[in-house]
Amino acid sequence: MKQAHLKKIRVVVALVFFLSLVFIFLDFRKLLPEFFYDSITFLQFIPSFLKFITVFSITYLGFIIILVLTVLFGRIYCSAICPLGILQDIILWFKKKIKKKFRYKFSRPLDYLRYPFLALPVITFLAGTVFFIGLLDPFSNFGRIISNLLQPLYIGLNNAGAWILEKVRIYFLYPEEISYAVPVTFIFTVFILVLITWMSLKRGRLYCNTICPVGTLLGLLARISLFRIQIIDNRCTRCGQCSFACKSTCISIKDLTVDFSRCVGCYNCISICPEDAIKYLNPGKQNAANPELDKGRRKVIASIGLLFTGIFGLRKSLSAQDVPQNKQPTEIEPEKHFAVTPPGSLGIGHYTSTCTACHLCVSACPTQVLQPSFLEYGITGLMQPHMDYETNYCNEECVICSEVCPSGAILSLSAEAKKTVQIGQVCLILENCVVYTDHTACGSCSEHCPTQAVRMVPFMGNLTIPEIRPEICVGCGACEHACPTRPFRAIYVDGHYIHQVAKKPEEEELEQPAIEEDFPF
């Protein structure tokens, strides 16, 4: 195969990944089946890594494939798979359309920035928080951009279409509630979008080579890649075309070198070179007698191996420490002790230490009960979604968030299993209840309750009043959402630090009526 074709292949693959990922973050109708979500997020480095160390299943080996690919061919991930990288390429493509004569210029790597930006999430992760990974992960940043900035526009467009069609009584499209991200999520997302746009317009893939920890990590591996893009000295005419086309600004014509740790594998250089003088070569063969390189390679492999061993070891001991912090079920106070995490997330401990706040679940949740948090989980849980019963409640039969979550923060759960997962418990303040205060019928809480953990019992005359059975409550929040009293609701769900098992509601058989009986009227 001619290497000049590499760029075309890369562009096609990149567009497939990019468009698919944009769509799953936009789609509020959940038009695509679960396996599509799984396959399209399979190769996303950070989510795949987190899911793998959580569930330990070969189904989530995507990040290993990326590591192997990098050891073979360098950072293919960055231009063909990473949606944030491809987004920058799209920005740069537009720039090129406008400024046709634009040329990149070789620059030195900013090691004083890129290594700290790699060390920060790694060290804090070992210390037990996924906070900085979430802030810096390119997939999650991309997700937040589409979910928080583009999805409202998409829904708005859909609603405009629905509104026009409704005028002629066509109901093919239907309007959907637009939920706007909490300010801090919005501001951070806009900041990242502005930052990557500015940096890419300024100097190509600068973000990927200074701030992105995945880029820097894969860059370390790319130093030892089996095949690397190199300049062939005796063919090169020093025309400089490759360097001018290099988005990573990593080709030095002066030294005839390619800094492969910064190369994002866009293949602009290969396709532009008129002399076929820059291409993938196997440096091992060329420099078989170079002991320096082999030494460096061994060092990198050893340190990366050490890193992973450390991560697995520490993570295990951490999860063991998490256990005994749950509140007593009997401690019912009219206040919320914990935010509620979605079913399948096991509890606040597991969830907040695994979720990178990519907001794919927020985009996909049909009731929009999953909303980005502010300080519900504390500062390190910023932007991680929580169950917001002000907005809506969790649908009993639905497990979409557990199907789409790419990082393993919300683990796969069957609809049947979900019915006994208790994510929080119901609390009742009778003094706030409209039946108690106004002596008028209501029953809204009990009506919405899927387990009858809230049931209506005789009160005065023909009136009924709610009574709770927290042991069979699943914590879905339907009662809290439906309660009509304001400013304070009479019924609410307090989250569990660790999810519990809800007892099954008891089932007594009812007597089947005999059809032969006459009508009672």
């Binding site: 049909p366 049931r455 023909n462 059809i515 009508f519 009227f521």
Partner: protein, 285 residues
């Protein structure tokens, strides 16, 4: 096509149409509806060629038909077929669901059944579909936002399912109207029974068809499991919404007077809760 109008003109074959209420038991939902509507002179007594029809089943909850929380899909489909046979231009089916509507429409089985029968399924999830209406005789509920299809369609067929209800004791035809309006929560906070009766005094279905095939005897309106449901295999049909509810209440073993909104609606003259003076056709299959 014009058979219906001829029947009206000559009045000849319409002896059967004098029933105030028809109750059927012992058949499947579709057959029971066939028998009941025949004894009211057929659907052509209500649906004229080229008219638009809106059918409002109970599609409140995300669950399968066996749970008895939503109207039987076979019954909805049968009503759609009757309307289309009578020459209806369009038959719409919608509800303002309680659970997330796309899942509820689909898992209730009603979306598929109604579509296959030729109806158009319409969303009820957006406030933009609902328009302000004055409740002229409302005591508590003075105005409310009502779905445009209810306001515009020529024929409105109300198809509730009979269930127990934690707040309103029972939910039948009048309670099923809660789902043609936008803000249900206000009713709950402001004397539920009175609001139900007030609304029924203004928004009047052409016909009420009460599905009592599978009946939720406890834990209503949503139910916890299959064990809450008994097979009563019955159906009640009446133009008088209060009479339909009174008969259905008796079917499940409650006195109409015990149910606040049935008692109030009767007092307000919305319909008759006393069944003794009514001409009732009782059919056992």
């Amino acid at each position: 096509m014009a058979l219906g109008s001829y029947n009206k003109i000559f009045g000849g074959t319409s002896a059967e149409q004098s029933y105030d209420l028809v109750a059927v038991r012992g058949g499947d939902p579709a057959t029971m509806f066939d028998k009941a509507i025949l004894s009211l002179g057929g659907i052509k007594s209500y649906v004229k060629p080229n008219q638009t029809v809106v059918i409002k089943p109970n599609i409140g909850w995300d669950g399968p038909p066996e749970r008895g929380a939503n109207t039987n899909p076979a019954l909805v489909a049968r009503i759609v077929e009757h309307c289309l046979t009578a020459g209806a231009k369009t038959v719409y089916v919608f509800d303002h669901t309680i659970n997330e509507w796309t899942r509820t429409y689909s898992n209730s089985g009603i979306e598929k059944a109604a579509k296959d029968a030729g109806a158009k399924i319409v969303a009820g999830n957006s406030e933009s579909y609902y328009h302000q209406v004055t409740i002229r005789n409302g005591r508590k509920l003075k105005s409310d936002k009502v779905h445009e299809l209810i306001l515009e369609s020529d024929v409105f067929i109300n198809v509730p399912i009979l269930k127990t209800h934690g707040g309103s004791i029972l939910t039948i035809s009048m309670k099923n109207l809660m789902g043609t309006n936008w803000d249900r929560q206000w009713w709950h906070g402001n004397d539920l029974h009175q609001c139900i009766a007030d609304y029924a005094s203004e928004i009047k279905p052409t016909l009420n068809v009460v599905d009592a095939y599978r009946v939720m005897k406890r834990n209503g309106p949503r139910g916890v499991s299959l064990s809450d449901v008994v097979e009563m295999k019955s159906l009640i049909i009446s133009e008088d919404i209060v009479a339909a509810d009174a008969a259905a209440a008796k079917l499940i073993g409650k006195e109409p007077e015990q149910i606040g909104h049935i008692r109030i609606a009767s007092e307000m003259g919305v319909g008759k809760s006393d069944l003794t003076g009514l001409s009732i056709n009782r059919i056992t299959i």
